[in-house]
């Protein structure tokens, strides 16, 4: 998809299975909304085709597509009552008043909003509006429901609640959800599969577990969850393990495709996989000093500076007194080779 000279989305092959909760995750401006608009029919791709249920959608407008879009700001009709909002799609299809009123009532019951039919959207709370928007979109019985960051306007607590609810609704109605978000937490908790996008390209499509555990690129590794990044050069690749020469000394890491002996590499280690005072079985050991410590309650976040100046982030469960560390305290940390993912160098996700 191109806008004049700007390519918003590069050549993309994306297959979403029917009945799947599929998320497209990426920083703002990565082209995820453009993909959504192409699926919804508000944009025609410059090249290529969108197929829904095997049917090409070229030349089919948003009104005729079997999709329904939930907008970021929901775009409820403020001058209509709740039931009229929900029934608007049915009205457009020429359904009789009594019939669409009954159907709106059913849908509002489905999203647990029975009894609010006669209110205006302005009289509802954020979460209730959200549910009206979902009911309105479901009313037209779409085969694909498209959601454009619909939770971003809610406060944290409600957002967590709505995640579970969205997932539950999706499983109840059994239709395909395509969910756009820049919030990895949302994507990881709700989705069956996730596509991570960056600068108009899809970096990886995988299940949440795979995405978090085995990111396929440096961008994904740093965008999805936190990661420690260690530079190095591969010295040997044997039996699925890599030996890497790094400023911190020799390290061992898990082998990934595209990383071979003699190449530059980036090693990614999750903060929660870094262990304090590692037992002798742990393959990689580094010593350093605590420069920052944050108690988050259930866990403790430590920033450790090694002798080379490399910063490491470690997250340890606040299980007992033994994890307590003071700032300036020297300590030894380590991680297993299976917890260290070596990937070809590439752009990292920039902290926003």
């Amino acid at each position: 998809m191109r806008f004049r000279d700007f390519t918003a989305v590069h050549k993309t092959d994306l297959m979403v299975n029917a009945g799947e909760f599929f998320s497209i995750l990426g920083p703002s401006g990565c082209g995820k909304t453009t993909i959504l608009k192409m699926v919804a029919g508000f944009l025609e791709p410059t090249e290529g085709t969108v197929l829904i249920g095997g049917t090409p959608m070229t030349g089919v407008g948003p009104a005729q597509r079997p999709t329904a879009l939930i907008f970021q700001n929901l775009a409820l009709f403020p001058l209509m009552t709740v039931w009229e909002n929900v029934a608007f799609g049915l009205e457009a299809r020429g359904m009789r008043v009594a019939e669409r009123r009954r159907r709106a009532g059913e849908l509002l019951d489905l999203v647990a909003l029975g009894g609010h039919e006669m209110k205006r959207p302005g009289e509802l709370s954020g979460g209730q509006k959200q549910r009206v928007a979902i009911a309105r979109a479901l009313a037209v019985e779409p085969s694909v429901l498209l959601l454009d960051e619909p939770l971003s306007a809610l406060d944290l607590k409600l957002r967590h609640h709505m995640r579970a609810e969205l997932r539950a609704i999706q499983q109840r109605v059994g239709i395909t959800f395509i969910y756009i978000t820049h919030d990895q937490g949302e994507a990881l908790t709700m989705s069956d599969r996730i596509a991570v996008m960056s600068q108009g390209r899809i970096e990886q499509i995988a299940t949440p577990e795979e995405l978090y555990g085995r990111p396929s690129s440096a961008f994904v590794a740093t965008f999805v969850g936190a990661n420690n990044v260690l530079h190095g050069r591969v010295t040997s690749a044997v039996n699925g393990h890599l030996s890497v020469d790094s400023p911190l000394g020799p390290l061992r890491a898990r082998k990934t495709d595209g990383v071979a002996a003699g190449q530059e590499t980036l090693i990614f280690v999750r903060p929660e996989r870094i262990r304090l005072d590692p037992p002798p079985t742990v393959e990689n050991r580094i010593s350093g000093k605590v420069v920052r410590r944050e108690l988050e309650g259930a866990y403790l976040q430590l920033e450790i500076a090694t002798e080379t100046g490399q910063r490491l982030l470690a997250q340890v469960t606040n299980a007992d007194e033994s994890v307590a560390r003071k700032i300036g305290e020297s300590l030894s940390v380590g991680f297993n080779a299976v917890d260290a993912q070596a990937l070809p160098p590439g752009p990292l996700a920039v902290e926003r």
Partner: protein, 347 residues
Amino acid sequence: MRNLLAIYGRTLTAIICLMVLFWVLAMILVPQIAMLHNSLWWTEKSGDAAAVTLRIDALYNDIGVLELDLAAAGDDEKAKITAEIESKRSEIAELESKEVSARRVYGFANYTRMSALHFGIFVKTMFFSALVTVLALIVCYPIAFAAAQVFTGEKAALLMLGLVVPYAINELLRIYAWLMILDYQGVINSALAWMGLVDFSKGTAIPFLQSPGAVFAAMIYAYILFMVFPIYNTLETLDRNQLDAARDLGAATARIHWRVAIPHAKPGIAVGCIMTFMLSAGSYSVPQIMTRGQGGDWFSQLIYRQFFDANNWNIGAAYAFTLLVACLVFIFLVMRMFGVGIREIAR
């Protein structure tokens, strides 16, 4: 009041209050009350007294004529004419001593005595003004919608500029421009003649100016901005996503406008209709110029004639006040029809 004092201090508060008072008195109360008062009385004289007054008027006329003669006459005739003038002067003096001044009578007769012809003109003006309002709405809504929602950035700015530019020209000139366009040998007829559709020599050109449509066209053109801007202002605040959402839910264009855009624009439409109606109903120059004073009068022309041709300010005031009341009724009706309150109108 206490708030005002707290914010602005004593001097500024006094100035503000005085200015508000001046506005209310000079702009609203005094002119309207003066008009209302004028419309509620008329002068009356009995038959004899009226005859005396008429006689005095006639004598003054004669003297005027004689004085002209005097200036042109030769020496021999001068004495005769001077004597005649003198005799008329003395008669005037005698009559004027007998003359009684007119009685001022209060009542509603200025309103109730409106002739069927004038009432017909009043009704016609109301109807035509309403028609102009509806036509202007039909013309302006798409323009306002395009400027507010369809075009973005530079294009929208150019469109608005195009709408405003004609308003840099004097209103009379704009109306005369339409006169030239619609005239019998005007731009349109000339173009038609050039295309061979009409022939001046056979008299088949279309007499646009003889139909009320010519007045309508000039009026819509003259007052288009007063309809476009209020609607544009409300449509501009309409969230694009709502239009997209309606479309995504399968609504056709007509339904999107009817159910989403127009309800949102209601306050703007109401304001635009009120302004256009009041301007049309009160417009003097457009019907006067477009019909060259030859076509059927509009009520505003009638009021003008009462004041300045018939020299009957009392009837004129009554007619003007009637027009004001009719406009107020229209405002009230529009507000009821669109379900908008005074607060939304004021915005």
